[in-house]
């Protein structure tokens, strides 16, 4: 059984008070998750006992640090079932993963008239790098539309994937709608059209089992800070033969095999794409996070979140004037975005905050999606391993108070 109280005890921040006497109700995990003590301690322990620069050192600390750093890579590779650790590139965040592919693979493979297919529900991280690439290379971006219920218009995929499509990059789970997209189906469609497929897994890897080989995707990116790991590190997965053929992204130490005044020879994978002193403590923290999540079990986590989300969607839908964004039912990731007639999302978030309830208000880095919906902003509550139904009840009670304060009860 999923022992929620034990899980909650793992997170030091859940024992804190936001204001005197007001405990934290953290419903903003989709923006960034909290960290269990084991992750915080893994990094502190590294700095206290065995910090040193990696790869180039003969001495003991350097060897320990290198072992831990490369060990974290192995853990991450196993976590997402990559064929080999060399397919795991440590980057700064998911965003950098998209930029790496856009600038390295993209510049080498995308030219005038070529198309890159995205969807209308993408996060800016999976939009702007391609807009920069398309502007530079004279390529065209196309966007697979979403339906009113926040699912993708899958039946129109055939119109959008053409022989000009070089890459289809899409999110596994929408960070606004919560839609869980049929990743394998989309990857297959891309491949059938002769295109590569890249997956934005920022909202899937933290919340459900992900197997890159089962998905057959070519690239996949996610962020450590949304999955119990530290800030400052993300992961780009890529199929080995693709990564091998790609030119370097950033230049400097570690990513080279040899340098002369006349030029350089890049290093082997994965270091070819990791320039300069790497994110050592961050990789160790991410490794600890992966171990923590694996111990809970990704299936158990997913089941817990599905239950919480169903409860939340149900409870929220009873509030007058509340409009839920995204698909109803179980095909819904662990979040609920909504608008409330008569109260602006920022005001909602601020009022809830006084009760210690942390939710997000705004466009959640998905401006084009909100623009299409005709709203400037939405409110979003998002859930994780430690979320309880009690917290959902507090959220709903808080929203009732918002309606009172804004004199909406009379409506």
């Amino acid at each position: 059984m999923y022992d929620i109280e034990r899980v909650r005890a793992d997170f030091p921040i859940l024992a804190t008070e936001v204001y005197p006497g007001v405990p934290l109700v953290y419903l903003d995990s989709a923006a960034s998750s909290q960290k269990p003590a084991v992750v915080i301690e893994a990094m502190a322990d590294y700095y206290r006992r065995y910090h040193a620069n990696v790869h180039r050192g003969v001495h003991r600390l350097s060897e320990m640090a290198t072992t831990a750093y490369e060990g974290a890579r192995v853990r991450v590779a196993e976590f997402i079932h990559a064929a080999a650790p060399e397919e795991i590139i440590f980057v700064g965040n998911a965003t950098e993963g998209f930029n790496l592919v856009a600038q390295s693979w993209g510049r080498a493979n995308v030219g005038p008239g070529d198309e890159i297919l995205l969807t209308e529900m993408e996060h800016h991280a999976n939009l702007v790098p391609w807009q920069m690439l398309a502007a530079e290379r004279g390529a065209t971006l196309r966007y697979l539309p979403f339906n009113d219920d926040g699912t993708l218009a899958l039946e129109r995929l055939g119109d959008f994937l053409t022989e000009r499509t070089k890459l289809f990059s899409f999110t596994a789970v929408s960070n606004v709608f919560g839609t869980i997209n049929p990743v394998r189906e989309l990857v297959d469609a891309a491949h059938a059209a002769g295109a590569l497929a890249m997956v934005d897994a920022a909202q899937s890897v933290p919340h459900m089992p992900v197997d890159v080989r089962a998905l057959d995707c070519d690239f996949l990116a996610f962020s450590s800070h949304k999955m119990c790991g530290p800030t400052g590190i993300g992961v780009l997965y890529g199929k080995r033969q693709l990564l091998e053929a790609m030119p370097p992204f950033l230049g400097g130490g570690d990513m080279i095999r040899r340098v002369t005044f006349d030029g350089f020879i890049p290093n082997e994978l994965p270091w070819k794409f990791e320039a300069g002193t790497p994110r050592i403590a961050e990789a160790i923290g991410l490794g600890a996070a992966v171990a923590y999540l694996s111990a809970l079990g990704m299936d158990a986590i997913h089941a817990h979140e599905q239950a919480i989300t169903a409860y939340a969607l149900e409870s929220l839908s009873e509030l007058p004037g509340l409009r839920l964004l995204g698909p109803p039912g179980t095909q819904h990731g662990g979040l609920a975005a909504f608008t409330l007639e008569g109260a602006h999302p920022h005001d909602i978030a601020e009022i809830l905050d006084k009760d210690g309830i942390a939710i997000r208000a705004g466009h959640h880095c998905a401006m084009p999606l909100h623009h299409k919906l005709g709203v400037n902003a939405s409110a979003r509550a998002s859930f994780y391993v430690h979320t309880t139904t009690d917290e959902i009840d507090k959220l709903v009670a808080g929203l009732h108070r918002v309606r009172e304060l804004f004199r909406l009860e009379r409506d």
């Binding site: 502007a135 920022h346 601020e350 009022i351 006084k354 705004g362 466009h363 902003a377 108070r401």
Partner: protein
């Protein structure tokens, strides 16, 4: 529960804004949004012969703080000269709003003033949409 920054006056102004509407023609008009939260405010101003604010209306969409602040600002600014208006201190508007604001919400409160000053100085709209090159 502590109503926090949502005092009666703020909610009153949110429900019943002052000086709400648009002027055509106006001596100057300006519209800007805070893209981070989607709040958008437009201000239209007509000046009299002595360059004083004769008429001022605002319109827009956003949170209670930005909307209430727009009402309070336009009310305060009536009769002031263009020079006074250009020099209108941000602190004064925060005083008028009269509730303690967090960093993020200060931006909401000051959006209308930003729009007013940009209009007064005749600053071109920084936000004309263009692709990146």
């Amino acid at each position: 529960m502590d109503a926090g920054i949502y005092r009666e006056q703020i909610i009153d102004l949110y429900e019943h804004p002052l000086n709400y509407g648009q002027l055509e023609p106006a001596d100057f008009s300006y519209e800007e949004d805070n893209p981070l939260c989607g709040d958008v405010i437009r201000i239209d101003v007509r000046l009299d012969a002595e360059q004083r604010v004769a008429e001022i209306l605002w319109s827009g969409d956003g949170c209670a703080i930005s909307q209430a602040a727009a009402s309070l600002l336009t009310e305060e600014i009536k009769g002031q000269t263009l020079a006074e208006l250009k020099a209108f201190p941000a602190e004064r508007l925060l005083e008028l709003v009269g509730v303690p604001l967090s960093m993020a919400r200060v931006k909401c409160a000051l959006l209308s003033l930003k729009v007013l000053k940009a209009g007064a100085y005749g600053i071109p709209d920084p936000d004309t949409m263009r692709g990146h090159e």
